[in-house]
Symmetry: C2
């Protein structure tokens, strides 16, 4: 079931994959998938082997007022990476860099479970949401890579609050500020 | 010689590794290293297996006035990644994510050969240089990861000019703007 779920999420994305299709591919009844995993959400987290559940830390971020969302998001990223989930997330990132299907899963995870929900709390058209979400991801993924993977100083050993102070204005601008938004070419 | 050079650069960094010590570790005469590679710079590029030589594209970036440096740097990164060197750079990034010594080599390469030279063109104290350089790296590495590795839309297929317009203000702020600079804790 998990293998079928991984293949479906990587191929069709979080929205496109249905529990029914995953059950069919695994040769089981959809009711069995529901019995084991409950929701599609829980099945997705299991398939990605997510080392941390966004439901645990996202509500606090989403409670921030729009003008403080940048700092809340950066603070959350550091909090999760500086916690016990780090080895698990690092394994996920390594896998994503090495395997195309794994990159797709991580992209879906970051997009569907984190960025989209943060951006979803702001009022704007879908195309703008996508563009702002990708820009936010570009800064957050880069922060994680330089601080935790490449360990570039002084970012690697700087205090979380100092990192938030430096990076949050960028994320805030991407979320709600004045940005020339990139789009897909026509 | 290359194995000894890789070990030395990974262990002691670009500045700390000397041709003399590398030659000793490889059991050869320093003159032989000079004969084969010329400068320490060329030896480093060979050791990293650099798919592109910064000397080819950096001069154009450094010719930009300080207030246009952000756009010049982002444009250069996209130009190099959208060119024939992409598979080589991707291999370097994959290796860096998987091996600690490889991460150190990539960090040294990005730091010593690119960021430091870009920042070196600006007049500021060393600690500020380091901090601004790491922040610039956090945005550029993230841009590369989201656009080329995770292929997050619309960043993945946006026109280079549109990407520059969105990202350059961030890099410009990190280079010369008003930033709460992170430092190593005392």
């Amino acid at each position: 079931m998990l293998a079928a779920a991984r293949a479906a999420f990587a191929e069709r994305g979080y929205d496109g994959a249905s529990i029914r299709a995953i059950a069919t591919a695994a040769g089981v009844d959809p009711a069995l998938v529901h019995h084991y995993f409950g929701t599609k959400d829980a099945l997705f987290l299991a398939a990605v082997e997510a080392p941390a559940d966004p439901d645990e830390f996202l509500p606090r971020v989403l409670a921030a007022p729009p003008e403080a969302l940048g700092a809340a998001v950066v603070g959350m990223v550091l909090h999760v990476w500086d916690g016990p989930a780090r080895p698990g997330i690092l394994a996920l990132v390594r896998s994503a860099v090495n395997h195309e299907w794994s990159a797709r899963l991580l992209r879906e995870f970051v997009l569907a479970k984190i960025i989209r929900r943060v951006i979803g709390s702001l009022d704007m058209p879908v195309a703008e949401r996508e563009a702002r979400g990708a820009l936010v991801a570009s800064q957050l993924v880069g922060l994680v890579m330089t601080r935790y993977v490449l360990r570039l100083e002084p970012l690697a050993s700087a205090r979380p609050d100092d990192v938030v102070a430096a990076i949050a204005p960028t994320v805030q601008r991407y979320l709600t500020g004045d940005v020339a938004l990139p789009g897909r070419p026509d």
